[in-house]
């Protein structure tokens, strides 16, 4: 049975639909990435799934509990890490964890706190006030706190925003280690490299789920073709390519231009013509996840306009 199994979730605020018929399934031990631009409804979807918001319509189960009637049980059994740091800045790491341990009625409190401190490498800083911690340490504290009661599902809302690459790497290693032990994770993120570390990804835009699957499936299903242009007058080539129909994206990556489009023949014709004009070479390239997301965003804008 899937850990998350929800159908047609809809949630609107003041007449504005923020989540629009979202269905999602996440299996046990899976790390699912939740992607989408700012304001696309990721946070709202996660809040609905952990029982913090009631959906307007839709149904489903989380950890086998009914989303509509068993919100309180879901709340108890998931670990939810909020987007904004939401522990007490005027309490030390240790005091924050003790507070959480007592609320979840873990016994004995001291042991639970000590284990968590050591487990997450927080022991040396346990007396430091949370408000004085750097972004990376705050994130670690938040993770520690939501793992404390040993949930079998973790909902992480942009956990690595404002965290340095090293701390991010450690964070993901931690998540993968726990997923290997059977923990299910749904994590929202903006970072492509993080999306690529997920078993499956879900892309949401303007409240609608647009794509779901493994990274390869999402890239393949997008139906995009990518050509790489190098050498010659790249700046001029970029300018000219942008004007041609059938070229959807032109993006410089160092000394290479990524040219992306949905119609392979039109794209190749355009690239061939412009390359000859600017003295550039071109080859076939691999479409990246980022190319796909940029395309999704562009399409969504077109649909809204």
């Amino acid at each position: 049975m899937n850990v998350i199994d929800v159908h047609d979730l809809t949630k609107s605020f003041n007449g504005k639909t923020v989540v629009d018929h979202v269905s999602m399934a996440v299996g046990r031990g899976e790390i699912s990435g939740f992607l989408g631009p700012n304001g696309s409804g990721k946070t709202t979807t996660i809040r609905v799934m952990c029982g913090l918001l009631k959906p307007d319509t839709g149904h489903g189960t989380v950890l086998g509990h009914d989303l509509l009637t068993e919100g309180l049980r879901i709340k108890r059994e998931v670990g939810y890490m909020t987007q904004r740091f939401s522990f007490y800045e005027d309490l030390s790491i240790e005091e924050n964890l003790a507070f959480v341990a007592r609320l979840y009625e873990l016994e004995p409190v001291g042991q639970a706190v000590r284990d968590t401190l050591e487990d997450l490498g927080l022991y040396s800083r346990r007396r430091q006030l949370a408000g004085t911690l750097s972004g990376g340490w705050k994130q670690r504290l938040a993770l520690a706190a939501c793992l404390m009661h040993k949930p079998s599902l973790l909902l992480l809302d942009e956990p690595t925003a404002g965290v340095d690459p090293n701390a991010r790497r450690e964070f993901w290693d931690e998540i993968h280690a726990r997923a290997a032990d059977g923990l299910t994770v749904l994590v929202s993120t903006h970072y492509m490299d993080e999306a690529e570390r997920c078993h499956r990804i879900h892309y949401i835009s303007y409240g609608k789920l647009i794509a779901s699957g493994t990274v390869d499936e999402v890239v393949d299903n997008a139906g995009l073709f990518t050509l790489l242009v190098t050498g010659g007058d790249l700046a001029e080539a970029q300018k000219r390519l942008r004007r041609i129909e059938g070229v959807d994206q032109v993006a410089p990556f160092g000394v290479t231009l990524h040219v992306v489009g949905t119609d392979h023949d039109k794209l190749e014709a355009a690239v061939r013509q412009v390359s000859s004009e600017t003295g550039s070479q071109w080859t076939k390239g691999e479409t990246s996840l980022e190319d796909v997301f940029i395309q999704f965003m562009a399409n969504a804008r077109d649909n809204m306009a």
């Binding site: 029982g51 913090l52 009631k54 522990f87 309490l91 979840y104």
Partner: protein, 378 residues
């Protein structure tokens, strides 16, 4: 698993609140320092029966009757003759610019008229812009003046029969025979100080969590509305208890306010009152969206309850509708309880209505707060 109430989860929240309270040094000091400062300040400053008020004497004559009248007035304690002027205009000017509160004019023919028995008159002009200033001083006048003259004219002039016919009114000033303002003000101040600090502090309870972003997390964890409410309110009950001890101690030892009644009854009444205050503050915090709004709600509530409770002005002196309005404030009932128990030694049965009203407030506020509390972020 019990989702409604668990002592351990309540303990978790109380502990957290106490740590936060301790870390917030300024607020902590204010909670204990402010009551003491206010008590001393207001306790000594407020006087509802002002004495030794500056007065000017307008007279041309220096005869024995005039002197007798002046010293009789001074002996009441209300008048302090700072100015001796020779014309009515000068006296009026002093009154107008507020230098004196009274101008006493004794006409030049006063002594002659007294001797002739020809309706002697003196004129006292009072600055009645503040009626309470003038009232005490004026109320003593007629008797004082008559007695002063009697003494001077040797009492035998009056026949015994005349004396017997005189109507004597006997007034007993019960519970506070000397009319000492502090006896009235200091117990009242306890109520006012408790009301301000308790309601204000607890009105921030939830809004602070919302503003700091910790509310989302608190709601995501297994804390029930009842636990959150009690967990937030109980630490302030403890603070209130300390405030009560400070103020009652000061009332006894600084102001010498008598404690006539039963101490357990007094403390019980105070406990219920404080409970109603913290719950009211907590109710505010479920209504307000920000700490600023919570603050505004507190003050919106504070001023009417101060004015209409009978703390500042006599409750029975207000029109009926205002008295009815006054009944909806816990402070009104608390003032009756504390003044009755402390000064009159009233027993429980006599004030059970007031205690009952306070208890009703506790139930109403708690119910309202629980009803208003949102378990989700909707």
């Amino acid at each position: 698993m019990n989702t409604l109430f668990s002592l351990r989860r309540l303990h978790a929240i109380i502990l957290k609140e106490l740590i936060q309270m301790r870390r917030d040094r300024v607020t902590f000091v204010m909670m204990l320092g402010v009551p003491l400062v206010q008590l001393i300040l207001f306790g000594y400053a407020i006087n509802l029966d002002p004495k030794g008020l500056p007065a000017a004497l307008v007279t041309a004559s220096q005869d024995q009757y005039t002197r007798a009248m002046v010293s009789a007035l001074e002996n009441t304690g209300y008048y302090r003759f700072d100015y001796l002027v020779d014309s009515a205009e000068k006296g009026d000017r002093l009154l107008e610019n507020g230098t004196v509160s009274f101008v006493v004019t004794i006409p030049g023919d006063f002594a002659r008229r007294v001797i002739r028995g020809d309706h002697p008159q003196i004129l006292i002009e009072a600055d009645a812009t503040d009626p309470s200033v003038a009232s005490g001083a004026i109320s003593t006048l007629s008797t004082v003046a008559a007695q002063a003259l009697l003494r001077e004219q040797s009492a035998e002039v009056q026949s015994a029969r005349e004396k017997a016919r005189e109507l004597e009114v006997v007034v007993h000033r019960l519970y506070n025979p000397e009319g000492i303002t502090q006896y009235n003000i200091v117990p009242g101040l306890l109520g006012v100080i408790l009301q301000l600090t308790m309601v204000m502090m607890t009105s921030m309870a939830l809004t602070r969590e919302t503003e700091r972003g910790t509310m989302e997390n608190l709601l995501a964890m297994p804390a029930s509305p009842l636990e959150i409410m009690l967990g937030k309110v109980i630490p302030y009950l403890m603070v209130g208890a300390v405030q009560v001890l400070v103020v009652l101690g000061a009332a006894r030892f600084l102001f010498g306010v008598p404690f006539v009644g039963s101490m357990p009854l007094l403390l019980g009444g105070i406990a219920i009152f404080v409970m109603s205050l913290v719950l009211l503050g907590y109710t505010f915090s479920t209504l307000a969206r920000s700490q600023m709004q919570a603050m505004q709600l507190t003050f919106f509530f504070f001023l009417p309850s101060l004015m209409l409770s009978g703390f500042m002005f006599p409750f029975r002196g207000m029109p009926d509708w205002a008295q009815m309005l006054g009944e909806i404030f816990p402070l009104t009932h608390f003032l009756r309880v504390i003044r009755a128990v402390m000064l009159k030694g009233t027993d429980f049965v006599t004030i059970s209505n007031e205690i009952g009203a306070l208890f009703l407030f506790v139930l109403i506020y708690a119910g309202l707060a629980l009803l208003r509390f949102r378990r989700t972020l909707d």
